[in-house]
Amino acid sequence: MEQLLDYAWLVALLPLAAAAIISAFGKLMPLKGSEVGIVAVFIAWLISIGITWHTFSNPGVVLERAFDWSPLGGGLTLELGMLVDGLTAMMFLLVTTVSLMVQLYSREYMHGEERFTYFFAMLSLFTFSMLLLVIANNTLQAIVGWELVGLCSFLLIGFYWHDKPNQDAANKAFMVTKFADVGLVVGVIILSAGVAATGIEKPFNIGTTMELSMNGTLSNGTIAFGALMIFLGAVGKSGQMPLHVWLPDAMAGPTPVSALIHAATMVTAGVFLVARLYPVYIQVAAVMHTVAIVGVITLFFAGFLALVQDDIKKVLAYSTVSQLGYMMAALGVGGYTAGIFHLFTHGFFKALLFLGSGSLIHAVHSNNMSEMGGMRKFMPITFVTFIIGSLALAGFPLTAGFFSKDEVLVAGELWAANGFVTGNLVLWLGLAGAFVTTFYMARSCFLIFWGEHRGAHHAHAEEHDVVPHGDDAHDEHHTDEHVTVGHHATPHESGWQITVPLVVLAAGALLVGLPGSFLWPADANNFESWTATHALEEASYPFISAPEDDHPASEAVGGAGVLAAPALAAEPGEHGDGGVHVLHGPPGFEPLLAGIAFAVFLAAAGLAWSIYGKGQPDDDPMFRMGPVTKALVAKYGLDTFGYRYIVVPVRDKLSPAASWSSNVVIDGIVRSAGGAAKRLADATYGTLDQKIIDGGVNGAAFSAAWWSDKLKRIQSGDVQRYAGALVAGVIVLVLVFAGAR
C-alpha cells in the first residue's frame, strides 16, 4: 500500500487523460464520452481510497516528489510535483467521490443535451484541475491549478450561454475571482521572495515556506503581508464576504456543476489553501484575527439572505457561502482540524442537497419552491435523502454536520480561552447562524415536501424573479417528452442514475463525521491525526505565551464553561515547549454545548413548522419584515454597489482611457515612427539616390559626352590643320632638345 502513494499523481492525471480522450473522440463513443469520464474518475477514486487507507493508518506519513526545472540554469528552480499527506488524501477522497457521483448523475440529468460530450470533457478537466491544486507541493503549481479551476468554473457556469444572463453570470464569477487572484499572486510572490532571499533555490516549495515561517527566518511583516494577500485570493474563491457575490449567480449553470464546483470542491479551494499554509498563518496574530473576522461576518450575514429566496438553488448557494464562512472562521480561531473537518463533511451533504434539488428541478421543470410542494409523495428517495442532507446541514445530532459544526464552536471557545474575542464571536454568532441555517433549511423542506403540490397552478414559463434560470434550456428540452398541460401535475421519481448518487452521498452525510467525532475511539487514529500535516504536529502559536500549568486552557474567561473534559485541553506535557499548540487532540463529548445546539435546532425547526408546516402561506413573514426584507432582497446592496462603483467606472472611464492610450498614443507613436521611416526613405530616395548618386553617375556620363563633344572638333578632317599641329609639336621638340643641350 505504501507504494500506492508513489502513484498519487495518477489520481490527478487520469481525469486529464479522460478529458483529452472525450474531447477528441467523445462524440464517436456509444455513451458519448461519459463512460470514459466515469471510468477514469472511478479508478482515481479507488486509488484515493487506497491512499486514504494508508495515510489514515500511518499518521504523519508524507511523500514529496517533484520534477525540477531550472529555466535560468541554476539559482531558481521550479517544480512540478506532488505532496501526499493526510490532507491531500482527504481532499482526494472528497473530490473523487463527489466527482464520480456527479458524473453518474449527469448521465441522466444532462441526457439528450446537445453538448453532452463537451460537458463531460469539462467535468473531467475540472476534476483534474482541482486535483492538481490539491496535490501541489509548491505555490506556483497551486496557482496553476487555482486558475484552471476558475476557468472550468467559467466555462461550466456559462454552459447555457445562449441566454445572456448566463453569460453575465459566468463573467461575474470569473471577474470577481480574478480580482481576488491578484491577491493570491502577490501573496505567493511575497512569500517566495522572502524565501528566496535566504538563498534557497526552490522558493515556491510549500514545505520550505512553512519551515522558514516556523523557525522565524521570515519576518513577521513578510508573513503577514503574504498570508493576507493569499487570504484575499481565498476570499474571492471561497466566497467570503464581500466577494461572495458571484456564487449565487453561478447557479445559472447546470445543477451537477453547482453540486461539484460550487458546493464541494472549487469553493473549498480557498479554505484548503489556507489550511495547507496553516503554519504560515499561525505566526502572526493579526492574520488569524482577520481570517476569523471575515469568516464570522460571512457565516452570519449570508445565512439571512437565504431567508428571502424562492429559488431552491439560491437558498443552497447562500447556505454554501455561510458554511464557507464557518470553515474560514474555524481556521481563524485555531481550529485547523475543525475547519477542514467541516469542509469534508460539508462537501458531502451540500453536494447531496444540490443533487437532490436537481432531482426536484428535473421533476417539476422549475427552480422555484413556489412551484413545488408535497413532493414527498412523488419522490420518496429524493425526499429521504434531501431530509438527511438538511439535517446534516442544520447539525442534527449524530449527523456528520453535527460533529463538524460542533468542532467549530469548540474551537471558538478554546480560542476565547486564550483571551481573544474572535473566539467568542465564532462561538455565539456560530450558534446564531446555526439557528438561521436550521430555519431556512426547514422552511425550504416544508415548502418543497409538505403541503399541496403547486405545480399545476402555474403556467410552464412563468417566472417569479429575474435571476438566471439556467435550467430553462433543460426545460424546453423535455417539452417533447411530456405533454404540456396536466401531465406536469404529477412529477415522478428520477431514474437510478440520479437516485443512487443521492443515496451514496446520504450515507456519506451520515457516516463521514464519525472519524472526527467523540464516538471514535480516543486512542485510535482519527480525523485529526489523519489530516494533521507534519509541520503542525509540534507547532504552537508564537504570539501566545504559555499559560500556567495548573490552569488548563479549558477553563477560560468568557467561554461557556463547557469544556471541562480534559481530553480537549492541550496535554500538559506539551506546555513545556512554551506555547499553545495548534492541534487540539481528539474531540471529547461536551454535553452542554451539544445540548445548546440541539435546543437551537428544535427552536428553529419548530418556528419553521409553525409558519410553513401546511405549505406555502399566503403571506410569507419573511417578506413582511419591512426594511430587513428590503435589505435582504437587495442582497445588502452589494451587487448594486459593485455595479455602480466598480463596473460602470471601469467600463465607461477606465476602458475607454486604456483603449485611447493604446489606439491613439501607442498606435500614434507606432504610426508616426512608420511615417517618419517612410519620409526618411522618401528623402533618401529622392535626394540621396536620385539627386546625388544618380546625379553623380549621370553627371559622369554627361561630362564625358560634353568633353567629347568639345574635344571631337580636333578631328576636323582638315589635313592642313593636322600638319600645323604636327609642326607645332616639332617646334616644341626642337626647343626641348635645344634646351637639353
Partner: protein
C-alpha cells in the same frame, strides 16, 4: 663684302621673294611659275656654294620636269585660269607656326654656327660625285632607281581609268567658262557623252 656674298644675297633675296609669291599668289598658274623661279634661284644658290652638278641637276629635274609637271597637274584638275578664292581659313595658324618656327630655327642656327668663319671652297668635280655614287653609295642608288620604278608604276596605276571604261564610253570632260562675269572664276564641270560620229 666679297662679290660672292653680294651675289649670294641677291640670289637669296630673289629666291625668298619668289617663294613667298608661290604660297601667296591668288593665281594658280602664277604660283606654279613662281615656284619655277624659286627652284631656279635655288640652283643659283647651289652654284654659289660650288655644287655645280647639283645645281645643274636641280635645273634639269626640278625646273625642267617637276615644275612642268605641276603645270600639267593644274591643267588636268581644271585649275581656274585667273584668280581663285581666298586661301583656307588656316592662314592664321600657318603664319603663326611658320613665324615661330623660323624664329626658333634662326636662333638656333645663329647660336650654333654664328661664329663659323667663311671658308673658301674649291668645288667638287663631277668625277668625284660619280665615283662616290657608284662605290660608296651604290646601294642607295639602286634603291632609288627601284623607287623611281615604283613611282612610275604607281603613278600609272593610280591615274588610269577603271577597266572597261576606255574608249568610246568615257565621258568627255569639258571646261565651260562661267557666264556670270568677272570676279567669279568658277567654271562648270560638264560631263557629256561623246557622240558617235
Amino acid at each position: 663684302m666679297s662679290p660672292q656674298e653680294i651675289v649670294f644675297y641677291l640670289i637669296a633675296i630673289a629666291t625668298g621673294l619668289s617663294a613667298i609669291a608661290t604660297v601667296t599668289s591668288r593665281n594658280l598658274v602664277h604660283a606654279a611659275l613662281f615656284l619655277a623661279a624659286t627652284l631656279a634661284g635655288i640652283a643659283g644658290v647651289f652654284l654659289v656654294l660650288h655644287a655645280d652638278f647639283v645645281a645643274l641637276v636641280q635645273l634639269l629635274v626640278y625646273v625642267g620636269a617637276i615644275a612642268i609637271l605641276f603645270l600639267f597637274g593644274l591643267m588636268l584638275t581644271r585649275a581656274p585660269i585667273g584668280r581663285e578664292a581666298l586661301d583656307s581659313q588656316n592662314r592664321g595658324l600657318g603664319a603663326a607656326i611658320s613665324l615661330v618656327l623660323f624664329g626658333v630655327l634662326v636662333t638656333l642656327i645663329v647660336e650654333a654656327f654664328g661664329n663659323q668663319p667663311a671658308f673658301p671652297v674649291d668645288g667638287v668635280g663631277v668625277a668625284e660625285i660619280g665615283l662616290a655614287l657608284f662605290s660608296r653609295w651604290v646601294f642607295p642608288f639602286e634603291v632609288a632607281s627601284m623607287l623611281l620604278l615604283a613611282g612610275l608604276i604607281g603613278a600609272i596605276l593610280l591615274s588610269r581609268r577603271e577597266s572597261g571604261e576606255s574608249g568610246d564610253e568615257t565621258p568627255i570632260t569639258r571646261i565651260q567658262m562661267s557666264e556670270l562675269g568677272p570676279g567669279d572664276d568658277r567654271g562648270e564641270l560638264v560631263s557629256t557623252k561623246r557622240d558617235d560620229a
